[in-house]
């Protein structure tokens, strides 16, 4: 990387090269799978080939006799090892049904891939070979994959003890919705399928567990986004004092929510290490992960708008029927609810009604996948916006303009308050960048001459709530934990600075971004700042990384910790320079006394704080501060995305021609890192529109069981995205920042689908199921308006 000219005072806002890159690009990162401990054994989990089956017998005796095998256990063998069920942190209603969830099933397998036994051997290959020798007898039961079918009378019951597959019904209603609808001159009603998706982090999951009996100490290295949350819950699951368990997230290669969980294998590795007295390692196979790591989305969605003849939307009424899969994983029930306040989008609506029904199915549990509830909400709103535009014969851009929230702060009908935004500015800029009129003209020209390649333009204007989250609100909505985060800054006597953060990066570049903040505030060169993360013994306080919270919450904790350091340094400097604190100016790490040449910087103050030879009376030695920050509000990014697609009407093939994203994400610390977040997010959202879909057959077998069938796009499928920003800094935090990790995924899917439907308008097409694969598009054209 070329050196930048950046110096303290100007790091924030600069594209400082990522500190993380060298080790990643030279293969010197340390992922869990790179770790080896003396005496380590490998675990292989035996998984149910059936989606739903009674387990009548598990015989591990042949596996135990196989080459290199150390031990083998059925679920029943380990039944006494558990102190609690695998957790769900968010039971969204008082009566949410939460089934017992053991790391290994004993009575029934409830999805294809449900673990039923585990084999431990001296090598990974030997464990895998021996796992084939475990004899399991199953009585297959009927599968149910579709959430609406799961709620129908007579559906196979995933958990018989409940007598129903319904886990919960969650409702939010405000603003007299029924009355508004009764008097509305215009209504539209749309229904969409939000298909099930499989997250694909580049690093599969993996764990390494160690138990030291003499010290009674457990250590778990896990490819996780949430070492702190994991420590808390795993201590409960395996029944040990939290203080005896250390969790380390070393370098972690992506998560997208799939590593925001407390997984069976993490708990298994700990109890097996305890039983065997040997370290236990498990590395997920990619095809194994398709079954055993959480999935995302899986909604049936309905939306009604009540509007006037000018297209002003008065009320929204939405319903989501959500496939939860077989169990409640950490945030399974809450994931759809994370979008629960934004089913009105960036639009000024009076009436708001949302009903979310969660249904158990015999499939892999769903949980938070990048955007978590907000992509679903945004898709439903934005697709319905275009339906209303068609009904009123209005340009979709004009319809959006007529409905935008334009004054901030704005209390939404759903009850939360958007602190700032510039939705209209973002749309104007996006239309300017894409040259909207010219694209519409080309579209009309093609239609006029009967071109077999149709052009479509799709808009998506969005807002979302992220930066999770104000703890009081989380408590009010029954989330079991808080939403604060923490940072510690320790100024070392030699001038360098150690930073301990409670967020846990897995590709986001926290080390660089957080270094920029500290280096700027304390006036030290950026390479003098070391950021330590992902180890509960190094940093006790933290609530980890998800929900676009790390900068908007953890970054503000860090900023405030720096303010505390500066305040203490100021006291020291005033003492040393024998001036009043009020006479000291501070800029870029240096304290100065106006009208004199007296000055001292933070690093010098740190040395004085360390030697403690001459500190103010009563001051503690050392220059170090911790700040725990609980945000006063969510973070509210927004923006406007425009997709232009070309459709080969003979083959149904969709080609993305242009993609313009204008995001309002507050102030930006590192533009390159932010662009990277948007690129990745947009690609993931486009992938939902065009390629990705988890498909099960009628027996509950996952058909898209590998990357051959589950189409994760590569660089070859993407195009150059055209990015820009408008800025409305958040007034709720001193950096004016907002979350950006999920915006691209939230915004892009409806932009692409609206473009596809727009392209097919001459054929009367109003919807194509996602992904819009060629056959679906071709059939939609054949059917025309008859869909």
């Amino acid at each position: 990387m070329a050196a930048t000219e950046t110096a303290p005072g100007s790091y924030i806002g600069s594209s400082v090269p990522r500190k993380e890159d060298e080790k990643l690009l030279t293969g010197q990162s340390r992922f869990v799978d790179d770790l080896t401990l003396p005496g380590m054994v490998w675990a292989s989990v035996v998984r149910s080939p059936y989606a739903h089956a009674r387990i009548t017998k598990v015989d591990v005796s042949k596996a135990r006799e196989a080459d290199g095998v150390v031990a083998a256990f059925s679920g029943a063998d380990l039944a006494e090892d558990w102190a609690a069920t695998l957790p769900c942190v968010w039971l969204v209603t008082e009566d949410t049904k939460q089934p017992m969830h053991r790391p290994l099933a004993t009575d029934k397998a409830r999805y294809q891939g449900d673990g039923v036994a585990v084999v431990l051997a001296e090598s990974r290959a030997l464990a895998k070979d021996a796992a084939e020798l475990v004899e399991v007898e199953y009585e297959p039961l009927p599968a149910v994959i579709d959430p609406e079918e799961a709620l129908a009378d007579g559906a196979p019951l995933v958990h018989e003890e409940f007598g129903t597959n319904e886990s919960f019904t969650w409702k939010l209603e405000a603003g007299g919705v029924d009355e508004i609808f009764a008097n509305a001159p215009v209504t539209v009603k749309e229904r969409f399928r939000q298909q099930r998706l499989i997250p694909n982090a580049i690093e599969p999951r993996g764990v390494l567990a160690q138990y030291l009996p003499a010290q009674d100490e457990y250590t778990l290295w896990s490819a996780t986004q949430i070492p702190h949350i994991l420590r808390f819950w795993l201590a409960i699951v395996i029944g040990v004092p939290e203080a005896r368990l250390r969790v380390v997230a070393p370098d972690v290669g992506g998560g997208f929510g799939s590593k925001l969980n407390v997984y069976a294998e993490e708990a298994l590795a700990l109890v097996l290490a305890r039983r065997l007295g040997r370290p236990v390692k498990w590395t997920e196979e990619r095809s194994e992960g398709y079954l055993a790591t959480i999935h995302g989305r899986d909604h049936w969605q309905e939306m009604e708008f009540a509007a006037d003849e000018d297209g002003k939307i008065k009320a929204v009424r939405a319903k989501a029927t959500v496939g939860l899969g077989a169990y409640l994983q950490l945030v399974t029930a809450g994931t759809p609810i994370l979008g629960g306040w934004v089913y009105g989008g960036p639009y000024d609506v009076e009436g708001y009604s949302l009903e979310v029904v969660g249904a158990f199915t015999t499939a892999t549990p769903t949980d938070a996948y990048r955007g978590a509830g907000r992509p679903e909400a945004t898709y439903l709103i934005e697709r319905t916006m275009d339906a209303l535009a068609r009904k009123l014969d209005l340009d979709p851009a004009e319809l959006r303009r007529r409905n935008f929230i334009t004054e901030f702060p704005k209390t939404l009908a759903s009850g939360l308050e958007i602190d700032s935004g510039d939705f209209a500015g973002a749309l104007d800029r996006a239309l300017e960048l894409v040259d909207y009129d010219a694209v519409r003209a080309e579209q009309a020209e093609r239609r006029a001459k009967g071109d077999t390649k149709e052009l479509g333009i799709g808009l998506s204007t969005y807002t979302e709530m992220c930066g999770l989250a104000p703890s009081r609100i989380l408590g009010a909505i029954l989330y079991a934990a808080g939403g604060w985060d923490a940072a510690t800054i320790r100024c070392l006597p030699t001038g360098s600075v150690q930073v301990f953060i409670g967020t846990s990066p897995h590709g986001q570049g926290h080390v660089t971004t957080f270094s920029q903040i500290v280096a700027d505030r304390l006036g030290v060169p950026i390479d003098q700042v070391e950021v330590v993360h992902g180890d509960t013994s190094a940093m006790q306080l933290g609530l980890d990384t998800y929900g676009s919270r790390s900068l908007a919450v953890g970054g503000i904790a860090l900023y405030n910790a720096a303010e505390k350091v500066i305040a203490k340094a100021k006291t020291i400097v005033a003492h040393k320079l024998e001036v009043a604190e009020d006479d000291l100016g501070y800029e870029n790490g240096s304290f100065t006394v106006a009208g004199t040449d007296k000055s001292m910087n933070v690093q010098e103050a740190a040395l004085h704080a360390f030697t403690a030879h001459d500190l103010p009376d009563g001051m503690e030695p050392g220059l170090e501060a911790t700040f725990v920050y609980d945000p006063p509000n969510f973070s509210w990014p927004g923006g406007a995305h425009v997709a232009v697609v070309e459709i080969d009407t003979e083959t149904g093939e969709v080609e993305l021609r242009r993609y313009v994203a204008v995001d309002e994400i507050g102030n930006v610390i590192n533009p390159t890192i932010v662009d990277g977040q948007i690129h990745g997010g947009v690609t993931q959202g486009i992938a939902q529109a065009l390629w990705e879909e988890a498909v099960y057959d009628d027996d509950g077998n996952l058909v898209t069981a590998s990357m051959l069938e589950y189409l994760v796009p590569s660089a070859a499928e993407t195009i150059d995205y055209e990015l820009d920003r408008v800025v409305a800094p958040s007034p709720t935090n001193p950096l004016g920042v907002k979350g950006v990790g999920e915006t691209g995924t939230i915004a892009s899917t409806p932009a692409v689908m609206n473009a596809i439907v727009d392209a097919l308008a001459p054929f009367g097409v109003r919807d194509v199921d996602m992904p819009a694969k060629p056959e679906r598009v071709w059939r939609a054209i054949q059917r025309g308006g008859a869909s």
Binding site: K128, W691, K773
Partner: protein, 272 residues
Amino acid sequence: MIPAPFDYERAESVDHAVELLGSGRDAKLLAGGHSLLPFMRLRLARPDLLVDIGRLADLSYVREDGDRIAIGALTRHHDLANDPLLAEENPLVAHVAGQIGDPQVRHRGTIGGSVAHGDPAADFPGVLVALEAELVARGPGGERTIGAGECFTGFFETTIAPDEVLTEIRVPKLGGAAWTYLKFQRRAQDWATVAVAAVGANGSARVALTNMGPTPIRARGVEEALGSGADPATASERAAEGTAPPSDTQASAEFRGHLARVLTKRALEQVS
């Protein structure tokens, strides 16, 4: 992702490979490994013995052989895609090689492996059928030549015997013939949903279809119609005749039939 146990032998020569294949064990040849190894990692293939012919450098070549071009079976796709003799004499083969998989696959995968694997969705089998290529195989009884049209007998099945090694592929010099290969796929690295290879000259064409049945299929109906003077649109109506395409998550059999007709029409427009 971890294969079942197997033994491994490195062949020192083609004859050595033939000998190892004839050892009576369930043996498979390993060339580039880009089809076999994924099967083994998913434990869908469990050979007892892998006979590695990957280092037989004398099986990697492209050279003139009278009115044909002879290609060593171990020639990598990347090398075919960039071969100057092919660019001159049979650019269809070079073009197709450049369409296979991704750069990593093309640097490891071999034309012989692609042919011998007999995957109906792979690119080379259909192209070689359209080219009426000859395949040379060596076994315990010596060498024999197999017409590409007779090689592929079923889903992953060929007439290359278990104790034979495919050593060479001979393709015609195309001279002034027009050619095309139209591959319909979801992602750049994917196998073909459907593909059409066509070589045309003087109003007639040879057309072969990929992934329209358990083997590559010569579109005889299309060729006949074209020979009888039909235009591409009319001739291509017969593209799906006699095919038995699969249905999967990418496309139904019916849609594959439709794609075969559209792609064939477009191919014929290019070569006729």
